[in-house]
């Protein structure tokens, strides 16, 4: 008797469910991502029980040692100059200086930074006609990044 040996049929794995899951994840990350320019250094903002999510056009960083950074520019004078340049560029066609529609600058200061630096920095920003400034804080229950 010649009984044929039953070989398991090699079927191609069905990958459609995986593609579905991957698409779902992709859409999730697309929706939640905020692609911000990376901070020039690590900053852990102070905690405060406030619930206005920070929304700003520019982010100025101030670390625990009082170093100022904006995008790639480090040090107070270069950072403020770079911020002013970006601000002026954003304002050029709207004429937004001094009006309510001027872009918001988020100041991301470290919780351990010297608080006495803050008014001095604000004065220097005001001298560059940047007055719409918000201080970034985080909720106490959120672990620092």
């Amino acid at each position: 008797m010649d009984i044929p040996i039953q070989r398991p049929v090699q079927r191609a794995e069905n990958i459609t469910p995986m593609i579905n899951v991957v698409f779902l994840l992709l859409i999730f990350f697309l929706m939640t991502a905020q692609i911000a320019p990376p901070a020039p250094f690590d900053v852990v903002p102070p905690t405060a029980p406030l619930d206005h999510p920070a929304e700003g056009t520019f982010t100025l960083h101030l670390d625990a040692n009082g170093q100022v950074g904006f995008e790639d520019a480090l040090g107070e004078t270069p950072a403020l100059a770079a911020l002013e340049q970006a601000y002026t560029r954003a304002c050029a066609d709207r004429g937004c200086f001094g009006s309510a529609a001027q872009p918001v600058v988020i100041l991301r200061a470290d919780a351990k930074a010297d608080a006495a630096l803050l008014p001095a920095l604000l004065r220097k920003l005001a001298a560059r006609r940047i007055t719409n400034i918000q201080l970034a804080t985080r909720l106490a229950h959120e672990a620092p990044e």
Binding site: L26, A48, L50, A136
Partner: protein, 109 residues
């Protein structure tokens, strides 16, 4: 195509930032602020104490202590932090005041 989708997925996973920051408005002295009115309301934040017009006050008691000095909640309150005081301490005082409805906080050098 699945390769590209995976690539995009990894890209967004790595670049997205979670844990949104919250914000608090900042105002410095000078500029075009309306003229200061009423009795002095100067909060000095020292390394280990907070004083209102020179008298020590507990941070929680600040809104109450300010009440008799203010005609309306939008009156300006002046804040000054001593050198070396961490930002967290200043923000704690400011958040306490703004939660009590006192929002016109002005930082002095």
């Amino acid at each position: 195509m699945i390769d590209v989708v995976f690539l995009l997925l990894v890209f967004f996973m790595l670049t997205s930032r979670f844990g949104m920051d919250m914000q608090m408005p900042l105002r410095a002295g000078g500029g075009t602020a309306a003229a200061y009115q009423g009795p002095p309301r100067l909060i000095h934040i020292g390394a280990d104490s907070v004083t209102l017009n020179g008298r020590p006050v507990a941070v929680q008691g600040l809104p109450e202590a300010l009440l008799p000095l203010m005609a309306k909640p939008t009156d300006a309150i002046l804040l000054r932090a001593a050198a070396g005081v961490p930002m967290q301490q200043l923000v704690g005082v400011m958040a306490g005041l703004s939660q009590a409805g006192l929002t016109n906080l002005i930082l002095l050098e």
